[in-house]
Assembly symmetry: C2
Homo-oligomer: 551 residues x 2
């Protein structure tokens, strides 16, 4: 067992080793992930591997430059603009092409492929309110003037939740919520923080760290995404095995809808009717806008410990993780890569030879008070060892932490090289885990094969629960024809396979527009009726994010 300790003072933000130090205030690249300055080309070893695995594909055509983009003229009338400006101030209403392009969608691979084209869809206006009251006023105004509203903050959706869909309305507003940023109140005794919903992950951690607290929610979108987005999309982070999914951190919220507002969450536990906050968690902006969240926070961990593991195969690794989850031995992070992902990961680090030796690698991280970290680490190690795991020391887990926000940059490089790359994820019970993994992998491979494309499917267990786990798939494929239409067909087959094989359509990316046509198969006709009834009550004219979730 190998333990690395980090004292509170050396890492007050809790972002140990995060390599991407771009200030989160800087906007993301409009046509790729993150900070352009941090973009990097594929490692040589990977470039060598790809043609062997995927066949040769032509390099992508050069992407359109920002100034070359052609947008349809804004449909917002001058009267609309003036009325909105009266609420938020003229400087917070923009119909400029750049602002519109920057709010034209999320960061799925289809989004990025569309961003490479010269002609693009965009919202008619970008509006940036600064408070709950301004959001409420804008929504009322939008309903009265028949303007659709797409709530937008970090812009990191990978399921099409941010498409500038006008629906049947006159025009469409991208409602940028980033000005709603800040810590409203911290109750240090109870460990409760009230924060504005447009606060990004790093901003939230900095504000809390100043008081010795941490939220501890680290999805891959962490550096850009906002608290409201985590809530609206039911996010799950890399530390969720220890700190819980984002929805378990939410103790209360304020919501603005076109027809009224809500303040929810009185006590840490209650039996007072259905938990209405849960109706907004996962609602993806179709009922209204989450403007403020009351969140469970904890003291910045005193200590962190890291340990990597290797298992002979995925089945043994998964069984080991299951035992850890069911005994409640408490790692903060635990992940298991399958054989293919383990091989590629080793290749990326220039250890091709090792990749051939097979096996599955896992990482564990423990955070908390020193005494507890030591005992949880020891107990987890004992369980993993008894289940056939062999420790690989602290290095692999530390390396994973250091690189954990960097993966999306690789996708941009692959796309530049003409190689298609996308991710998708699901979850199921432990008993069904391997069957689902096979069904999804098969749907991906055969889907691409039907279009004459070779593909490589990597998978890891990203989150564990006592009763099951999440599977995260990374896909690279050598598509010779139109990448968008091939992927649409493959993805459709994967969604069918998920429904047929007992997987959920998404464990932490959400529904958006990409999964919406399958929603009814997961929640049933009566479930759809419930969602539509709530929407009809709160948003009777249907202006909120038309086409997302409910299709």
């Amino acid at each position: 067992m190998s333990v690395t300790s980090v004292s509170e003072t050396s890492d007050p933000s809790g972002l140990i080793g995060a390599p991407v130090t771009v200030p989160p205030e800087a906007p993301m690249r409009w046509n790729g992930w993150g900070d352009a300055a941090l973009a990097k080309d594929l490692p040589l070893a990977v470039r060598a591997l790809l043609p062997m695995k995927l066949g040769r594909v032509p390099k992508a055509a050069p992407a359109a430059q920002l100034e070359e983009i052609v947008l349809a003229p804004s449909l917002l009338s001058d009267e609309d603009a003036a009325a909105i400006a009266e609420v938020v101030g003229e400087e917070h209403v923009s119909v400029e092409a750049e602002a519109r392009v920057r709010h034209s969608g999320g960061k799925s691979t289809p989004d990025l492929l569309r961003r490479r084209e010269r002609e693009q869809q965009a919202p008619d206006v970008v509006v940036s309110p600064a408070s709950h009251e301004e959001v409420l006023a804008v929504l009322r105004l939008a309903a009265a003037r028949d303007l659709a509203v797409i709530p937008f903050a970090g812009g990191t959706s990978v399921v099409g939740a941010l498409d500038p869909e006008r629906g049947s309305h006159r025009a469409v507003i991208a409602l940028n919520l980033r000005r709603l940023s800040g810590l409203v109140h911290l109750d240090e005794v109870s460990g409760e923080a009230r924060m504005l919903a447009g606060t990004t992950g790093p901003e939230a951690e900095r504000l809390l760290a100043a008081h010795g607290f941490e939220l501890g929610h680290f999805p891959q979108s962490f550096l850009y995404a906002t608290l409201g987005g985590f809530a609206a999309a039911r996010s799950s982070g890399q530390n969720s095995s220890g700190n819980g999914r984002f929805d378990t951190m939410v103790l209360g919220m304020r919501v603005a809808t076109p027809t009224g507002e809500l303040t929810l969450g009185v006590a840490p536990g209650t039996s007072v009717g259905p938990d209405l906050a849960r109706v907004f968690l996962g609602s993806e902006g179709i009922f209204g806008v989450i403007t403020e969240l009351t969140l469970r926070v904890h003291r910045v961990p005193e200590t962190k410990a890291f340990e990597g593991w290797t298992f002979p195969d995925f089945a043994m690794g998964a069984a080991a993780l299951r035992q850890v989850a069911q005994l409640g031995t408490g790692p903060t992070v635990i992940r298991l890569s399958d054989e293919a992902e383990t091989g590629v990961s080793l290749a990326q680090h220039g250890r091709i030879g090792k990749a051939m030796s097979g096996g599955c690698s896992a990482v564990t991280v423990f955070e908390g008070a020193a005494a507890d970290v030591a005992s949880r680490h020891a107990r987890t190690a004992e369980v993993l060892r008894a289940a056939g795991g062999i420790s690989t020391g602290a290095d692999p887990a530390e390396a994973w932490i250091k690189g954990r926000f960097g993966a999306p940059y690789l996708r941009d490089s692959l796309l530049d090289h003409g190689v298609f790359c996308e991710t998708l994820e699901t979850a199921t019970t432990w008993a069904n885990l391997e069957a689902l993994k096979r069904a999804v992998s098969e749907a991906i491979s055969s889907g691409f094969a039907a279009h004459g494309a070779k593909s490589l499917v990597l998978c890891h267990v990203s989150h564990i629960y006592p009763t099951g786990a999440a599977l995260y798939f990374t896909i690279v494929a050598g598509i010779k024809g139109d990448q968008l239409s091939v992927w649409e067909a493959v993805k459709s087959g994967v969604n069918d396979a998920l429904v047929a094989s007992g997987g959920t359509l998404s464990h932490h990316h959400g529904v958006g527009r990409d999964h919406a046509p399958w929603l009814e198969r997961e929640i049933g006709t009566t479930g759809m009726r419930m969602l539509r009834a709530i929407k009809a009550e709160l948003d009777p004219t249907g202006i909120m994010n038309p086409g997302a979730l409910l299709d």
Copy 2:
């Protein structure tokens, strides 16, 4: 530290020390709690203490006998009865007086006081379906024939959720769900059990124990209440600090409504839209009937350890529990009595002398694998000791476990002696805990004083969370006038105080009809509109439990 171990074989049911061994198949006393054979008179020490504390009150008038009860004639038509009998079988449709009286409400003190009267309200018919399909058919039929439906199973509501309210409908059915009992499927790998919603607590534990599993949900209603009731009322049990509230155990459910059915819950974690199962958790039968639940279960604990504690005062005890909750040191049960409750509890056990010495007693119980129980116990003890606690050994915690389902019997004895007794509970943040406790205690005392009644208010912390805790109040009062109307006035003042002081109206009893007039003050106008919109969609004619939750 004192540890008592119980091997798996000596207590396969997990019901260690439960003193009430009545088969759960036996119905409860129609006019009191539990099994008539187990009713017991007040301990002498308590009888001596009461007049000193509450003044002398006259003994209650003799309660009406079952055969003396006068009911209004059933309003069910022969055609109604015949149509229902076609679905469930004639023998499962009863308009007999005894059946109707036995389904005429729950077990709150007002319920029990009303049960003592000669003239009583009762449902027009008791219908007992045996399956999801039969429930669905009965609900459709009831909607078509304009019959109200009160879902009824254990009959343990203490908030008026089971009143036979006809509303604007022709007649009212008590829908007894006890025939939907059983284990449908156990996934031993994942730790998931599908169980019918009418299964009682003990039945569920027996069925699971046969496979080495436990649900581990032990509210005071455990011996009679059913899984569906736990879900519909968002129950929390005595082991919830370790095993979680009942709603956290629910992975999925089947629901029958008057206009359709739902099967919810695909994966242990998902981001696919709002969690619709959460809309039925806490819905108290106003949308439909939960017929089946998929529940997280765990292996029967290998070991249990018990330890009692004493703290100089409530504030120090509460601060100690907070540290335990926030460090996540993991007791399965932890409770803290205030000074008054500690004193009465000692008095009950004939230790009046000790009661005078003051202080607050606490109990802790740890369940799980031997190694984990030992380390969690040691860590919790360390935290409690550092926070000023002094161990009182295993005995007090073991005594508490043995007596934990017995308290409601005392209430029946008190009522016989003319002494009013009732409980209520709430929850709030740790920072607000003492202020809320004072506000509620004051509302109770001054409320009774305004009616010339002396009262005694006992309180304990019954459930802990990282951010707050639940407060459970036991009230005894010497009311000279009409107990029902005095209590109604006092309770109204308490509900006002809860809303004004940041407490939830109920942490685990629910809303029913007793808290319904205050619901809007907790969830707001927009929250009420959401609940009404869902109800209008699923139950457009409003037949489901009219008057509960939504008033």
